[in-house]
Amino acid sequence: MILMSNTPVLQIKNLKTYFYSRDSVVKAVDGVNMEVHSGRITALIGGSGSGKSVMSRSVMGLIDKPGKIVDGEIWLNGRDLRLLSEKEMRKVRGKEIAMIFQEPAAAMNPVVKIKDHLFEAVHTHDRKARRKDKMPAFREVLLGVGLRDPDKILESYPFELSGGMCQRVMVAMGIVANAGVLIADEPTSSLDLTTQISILEELMSLRDAGIAIILITHDLGVVAQTADDMYVMKDGKIIESGTVREVFAAPKHPYTRYLMEPVHVEELR
């Protein structure tokens, strides 16, 4: 039985991340406030380019030039991540907070085997873990995300797998990281519906085990069927938030209403 506390495990206050070029500034994240609770799935939705990935990477401390966090606080387990050194941040990443990246191909070293990627995700928080002991658990997790031949996958390199398979491996890495907060950046967007279901069910069981999940998606079906809370982002700002039931029942912002209005079948045919 999980005790739901009212204190958010992750609290983002007035976060601003800008990208600078010679003659312009892109305000990718522009004053975001967000609260994420343990044992709940918090959906983050918004059109592409609205700043969802940049916000996530800001929380992970992974913003590089020409980008910069210019303002705000990121409170995780009682401390502001913005005040940590890169060395301290490296300990936080993977241990307290992990992320499933939107572009798995870019996030995985192509010459490192899948089993070593998975082991790295474990080793970050469990220094005593031994590779050999972990293999059965890895097989289970790979099966759980719908990869049917785990032994072959473990011995493969990322470039030998299809994009969809890499995406599932990325989810598996997020799961074995066993961090208290998991950010999943569009983890199912290019997958078959049948595979999508198995991945969402894995995420829901992590949620039920008490983990806080930020689920970035552009699929309202996914939000409605899996998430507890939701935030709608547009042009770097949060324009609406609430529980999923509240927002679906009565979307306040015109943009949210536009998103929710179904594609009119008759009009299209």
Binding site: G47, R148, Q196, H218, V265, L268, R269
Partner: protein, 324 residues
């Protein structure tokens, strides 16, 4: 020879990859037609042969067996030069087409290429044509001088559509053209495609794993599994009769938190997806498979008006459903 109401028709079409013993069918013995002015949806899990079938219809690949008719002409054995004469009547839009352009090409260069290849026009006529097309996809002539790399993903996707539609093709294959793009853009693109169909009578094969998009725009839906056609639904809302289609539809998530998804698993998880030695391709994962299914492959039969199903046990399944 072919019925003039069909834009495309194929008979016993197969495509195998690989050499002799190793050969594997990506598309196996499919027969169907796409009527003029209709959008036929094509769904199925990845690797089931959707893209291969799309490429075969446009003769971007040579079939291993079977016949392909395009507007009544048998194009199965057409040479490159013969195909070139009708290429402007068929087009393909695919997901990655947005990224396929040279980033240092301007929109003008990208869109004018097919026009220059197939139409005798002067620069003024071309610009007028391009402007008209850009406006149809929600852009304007100010984009002509922009470089591809300066555009957002959504803008590039529209440029790809403009390029595909500028010659006014009769037949367009959309291969995952709206998959994994955000909802705002998806809505816009579905609208563009549907409008073009209405106004210009284009015929489409709409390939997608996004059931909601397919249901929104398609007149009929064809379901494939491991290279075989399992079912053809006569309309988007028709009740699925094949167990595989039912399983696919059960995986669709309703965008309504008050409708709870039933945790029903409608097929068996198996090892690697592989074509079984004999029988129905779906039997290893089918919940209703019997001895017959393991030995005899079912034919695609018309169950009633335009509803085709490849399954031995139509009757039993309907009874099962009714009792469920």
């Amino acid at each position: 020879m072919s019925d003039s109401g069909n834009m495309v028709e194929v008979k016993g079409l197969s495509k195998a990859y690989g050499q002799r013993r190793q050969e594997k069918y990506a598309v196996y013995n499919v027969s169907f037609a796409i009527c003029k002015g209709e959008i036929l949806g094509l769904v199925g899990e990845s690797g089931c042969g959707k893209s291969t079938l799309g490429r075969l219809l446009l003769r971007l690949e040579r079939p291993t067996k079977g016949e392909i008719y395009f507007d009544g002409q048998d194009i199965t054995g057409y040479s490159f030069t013969e195909m070139r004469k009708i290429r402007d009547r068929m087009q393909m839009i695919f997901q990655s087409s947005a990224n396929a352009f040279n980033p240092y090409y301007t929109v003008r260069q990208i869109i004018s290429e097919p026009v220059m290849n197939y139409r005798k026009t002067d620069a003024g006529e071309r610009d007028a044509l391009m402007t008209e097309m850009l406006e149809k996809v929600g852009l304007d002539s100010s984009y002509l001088n922009r470089y591809s790399h300066e555009l957002s993903g959504g803008q590039r996707q529209r440029v790809g559509i403009a390029r595909a539609l500028i010659l006014g093709p009769d037949f367009v294959v959309c291969d995952e053209a709206v998959s994994s793009i955000d909802f705002v853009l998806k809505k816009q693109i579905l609208k563009i495609l549907a409008e073009q169909k209405k106004k210009n009578g284009f015929t489409y094969l709409f390939i997608s794993h996004d059931m909601a998009a397919v249901k929104a725009v398609c007149d009929r839906i064809m379901v494939m599994y491991l290279g075989n056609i399992m079912e053809i639904l006569p309309e988007a809302e028709a009740k699925a009769l094949h167990p595989y289609t039912q399983a696919l539809l059960a995986a669709v998530l309703e965008p309504d938190p008050n409708v709870k998804r039933e945790k029903k698993i409608l097929f068996k998880e198996s090892g690697e997806l592989a074509i079984p030695e004999a029988g129905c391709v779906f039997w290893p994962r089918c919940l209703y498979a019997t001895e017959t299914c393991m030995h005899r492959s079912p034919e695609l039969r018309e169950i009633y008006d335009g509803h085709f199903v490849a399954c031995h046990y139509m009757k039993n399944k309907r009874t099962l459903e009714e009792n469920a």
